[in-house]
Every structure is written in structure tokens, then in C-alpha cells.
């Protein structure tokens, strides 16, 4: 019974984290000229979460979290160069106004898939340890479970192999919980 109450409390706290995660992701998407956030914007948002485990996971595999936003733009440029298009640098296109937010909590399919994977990952960890909160490292695990898409392409541009990053993120979750004890 006590465990159940702790789990419910943890899930309520996690809902606050999810709200912050999605609201910040939406701001990143709107600033990028997109109405709804994709998985890449959720990862950007996770890198700003205060627990810091996602950033530590990237550092653990010698990848710089500060480069992720540039890596998103770079993977677009790489893809366009494959078509023989030298895309203007973002600076040129950013003259276009940022978009206003769309309907609250509406996300692109890639972000929806990430959030579903995230729920499974966190629930599994909470079965092992009921005090385990939703951490930014969990978001990285969920992002890296995708085979394709902008988020994993950007991570690869940074030199972050998804399999290595998943392991690093799991380690960071374990260390975070060890420090909470």
C-alpha cells in the first residue's frame, strides 16, 4: 500500500515534468518555424531539464549537448545536399517569423512515438525502483530507440551512436538514483 502511494506521488510529479518538457519543446518548434514539436524538439527540451542526466549522458560518450541544435540544422543541410541543393544557412531563413503555438500539447508523430516509448521506459524503471522519477536521460533513451528521423540523425551528426547513448543514459539514471539514496 505504501509503495502504491509513493508510486502515485511519483507519477504526479512526472506529470509536471512532462508538462514542462512539452511546453519547452513547443517553444523550440515554434522558434524553428514549426507549429508542433517533433522528437528533436523534445530532446532539445530534455537537455534543458534541471536533472541534467541527459547532458551528462552525452558528455559520457564525448558528445557535446550544446551542439545538438546545430546538429539538427546540419542534418537538414546534409539531406538537401544529397539533392544537389545548397540550402541557405538557417540565418537566412530565420528572417521568417517564428510561429505562434498551435493547440496545446499537439505534437508531431515523431514526438508522439517518443512519448509513448518514454512512458514504457519510465514504467519499467519504476517497477525496479518506485522512487525513480522521469529523467531527461529517459528521454534520450526513448529518442535513441527510433531507427530513423531528425532526432537520431542529428545525434549521429554529433558522433553519438544511439546504442552507446542508450547505455550512457541508463548509467546516468542509475547514478542519479544512487545519489538520491
Amino acid at each position: 500500500m505504501f509503495t502504491f502511494v509513493r508510486l502515485v506521488r511519483q507519477r504526479i510529479r512526472d506529470m509536471g515534468t512532462i508538462k514542462a518538457l512539452l511546453l519547452t519543446a513547443e517553444r523550440y518548434a515554434n522558434a524553428d518555424g514549426q507549429k508542433e514539436p517533433g522528437a528533436e524538439h523534445v530532446v532539445l527540451s530534455a537537455l534543458a531539464l534541471p536533472d541534467g542526466t541527459a547532458r551528462k549522458a552525452l558528455h559520457r560518450i564525448q558528445a557535446d549537448p550544446e551542439r545538438f541544435q546545430d546538429a539538427i540544422a546540419q542534418q537538414y543541410r546534409d539531406a538537401l545536399e544529397n539533392l544537389g541543393i545548397n540550402a541557405p544557412h538557417d540565418a537566412d531563413l530565420n528572417e521568417a517569423r517564428p510561429l505562434s503555438p498551435g493547440k496545446a500539447y499537439r505534437v508531431q508523430a515523431s514526438a508522439q512515438a517518443l512519448m509513448e516509448r518514454l512512458r514504457t521506459i519510465v514504467e519499467n524503471d519504476q517497477r525496479q525502483d518506485v522512487r525513480c522519477p522521469l529523467l531527461s536521460a529517459h528521454v534520450l533513451q526513448a529518442a535513441c530507440a527510433a531507427e530513423f528521423g531528425v532526432a537520431v540523425r542529428a545525434l549521429r551528426v554529433m558522433g553519438a551512436a544511439p546504442a552507446d547513448l542508450i547505455e550512457a543514459a541508463k548509467t546516468e539514471v542509475t547514478e542519479y538514483l544512487a545519489h538520491q539514496r
Binding site: G33, Y76, A79, N82, G84, I85, A96, S100, F148, V150
Partner: protein, 72 residues
């Protein structure tokens, strides 16, 4: 102009599909940029819609800046 000889190989659908995504994002940004500049130069939504090949209502709904006071 896109050179078909440089298109991603059909044997590599991941790269071809990534290029499609990048093109969509680029096209969306170019469209908003062009519409904003047209409005700044005094174009009407009717003219913009005609140039884009869509209805005036569709153009305004999709591309109008909610903060601006432009009407269709």
C-alpha cells in the same frame, strides 16, 4: 534546379526520405518568408493565394500571422 543525377539512390530510402523531410521544412520556411515579404510590399491575400495556387481562405488560415491585423 535539382539534378536528377545527384538524387539519393533509391537503394538508400533512409537518405531519400530524410531529403523529403528537409525539403518540406525548407519549403515551409521559404513560403512564410515569401508571404511576409509580399504582405510588407502591400500584396493582398487574394494575390498571395493566386500566386500560391490555393484559396484565399486556405492561404490566410495557414499563413497569416496571428499577431498581425491582416484580413483575408
Amino acid at each position: 534546379m535539382i539534378n536528377p543525377a545527384t538524387l539519393p539512390s533509391p537503394d538508400d530510402p533512409a537518405e531519400a526520405l530524410a531529403a523529403v523531410v528537409a525539403l518540406r521544412i525548407l519549403a515551409d520556411k521559404l513560403e512564410r518568408n515569401a508571404v511576409d515579404r509580399a504582405l510588407a510590399q502591400g500584396w493582398s491575400w487574394s494575390q498571395i493565394a493566386e500566386a500560391l495556387g490555393v484559396s484565399k481562405q486556405a492561404a490566410h488560415r495557414r499563413l497569416a500571422n496571428p499577431q498581425s491585423k491582416t484580413t483575408p
